[in-house]
Symmetry: D2
Subunit: 163 residues, 4 copies
């Protein structure tokens, strides 16, 4: 386990939602990833690429192609992607044939800006998984490391479950 | 990656420190692990054993033998130990010859009860590492997964570094 | 300044907003007032009446009449009302001719459930104002105690200002 | 209630306690007042003077004379003092004969850096009290506005009570 740099790609989702009072609206704001990693006292080298700020229900094939191309072009073999939870598995499928990289998708059911949020724990899970797991695509949600092609989101139950 | 249960052994450390105003003192309080795992929306099965509430500078060989015996006797093959950071590597060495289990030690440099703490992220790292990494003893601190026998704490720098 | 009980009337607003992932929506949830007052270690006697869970843009004259009637009927002479900020001054006007009571309206620009919110500070302001100020209607927002009939919300600037 | 500026004098206490892992110790750190007031979206004019960083059990008569002199020399007629809770009433007595100013002492039983702390609520109480109350010395703790000369701290019960 050497200190090979981690690429963090942010795409939006509940993870980065913020409340804009003047609009009486919740929107995805600037990513909080750098702040979370600073609070977590992360010394491991990493690089953040803020690709988009979208609810995952609004992601298009073009968006997924951009996520894919970004990962293909990157020198890093360890990748963490923060993503809305609703279509996380759909994006994972679009990355299934990437070779030589350990890719981990995660997100949050409560915004990171909330006092009580799963965001920091999930981000920690993803950071460890991309260092410990073999090459492939993974999802870290609900306390489990899942094979990203064998999991689905159970929306009503508020958790991810193995298929 | 199946949903094999995780054993969480808590021993104290900064992770669980609390402020007692009537004593004008900070002491290790009741473990906050269950609360953190609830906030993290963990659905993965786990069992918590609160073994002791000690600053790791106060841990004795008897304490370490108890930690070892608890892990040996447990049915779980995946173990997370929350521990003070000052002698975490010492306890890891005492577990080095356990076989057939993935054991991950973690802790925190700021108490979990703080608004800005590395505790939830580190706990998430440990939860993922015990599911993804091969059998052996690991430490997840400072954003990295370390071989527990090849790491030390750099106290002044406030981080763990590879030896 | 004796320990005369305080009546806390909650009507909703951003103060109590919560994120419901299964609905991909933010809605006003159960009031967090009791939890905030417990964290604030409030020993002063108080009584909470959760009247409604509305965005203040949705409050009707019937709602305002209910708020008014509740305050008129209450034995308490000290009243705190948590309320959405958009029409707080409108409700204040509906209470202008209540006699013998110190009524303080407050709210929040960020939900109390957020890690960084003005909610606890504003609630503290209101608790003190209803004990220190003379009878009448007041608004505590943006760090100031305002005569509730001489203030307006400057939405773009995100603050309340004297008229 | 005009926007007359508020002088905030910080003296230390639990309010500003911070954990320094490299020292395995809790010490009073740089005051968090400016950060709390920013989170509270305070637009009211104020000025912060960080006089000392002491546990109130360590305050001397010289310290109290300095606090007194600072207030006497200030142009502001509204003063908030953050202070350790153990000898808050002692310092209040040293300010009893100041004329023409509304002085409010407050503090916290849990550090402001904690996720669950009475600090922001208490600070809000003090900000409102110095605007609403008549000239004199007040203490805002435990949800009540107290005449500072008629209150004591009940350490075991963790609250302030009227004498």
């Amino acid at each position: 386990m050497s200190l090979a740099p981690i690429l963090v790609v942010t795409t939006g989702g509940t993870f980065d939602k913020q409340y804009f009072d003047a609009l009486s609206e919740y929107k995805i704001g600037e990513t909080v990833i750098d702040k979370l990693l600073a609070i977590a006292r992360v010394a491991h080298p990493f690089r953040v690429v803020e690709l988009m700020r979208k609810d995952s229900l609004d992601l298009t094939d073009t968006d997924r192609a951009l996520i894919r191309a970004t990962i293909d072009a990157a020198p890093e073999t360890r990748v963490v992607i923060t993503h809305g939870t609703d279509t996380m598995t759909h994006t994972a499928a679009a990355l299934a044939d990437v070779t030589g990289k350990t890719i981990v998708l995660t997100g949050a059911l409560a915004p990171a800006r909330f006092a009580e949020s799963d965001a920091p724990f999930n981000l920690g899970m993803a950071f460890a998984c991309c260092q410990s797991a073999p090459a492939g695509v993974w999802i870290t949600m609900s306390g489990s490391v899942f094979d990203a092609l064998k999991v689905r989101k159970d929306r009503e139950a508020g958790k991810f479950v193995e298929i």
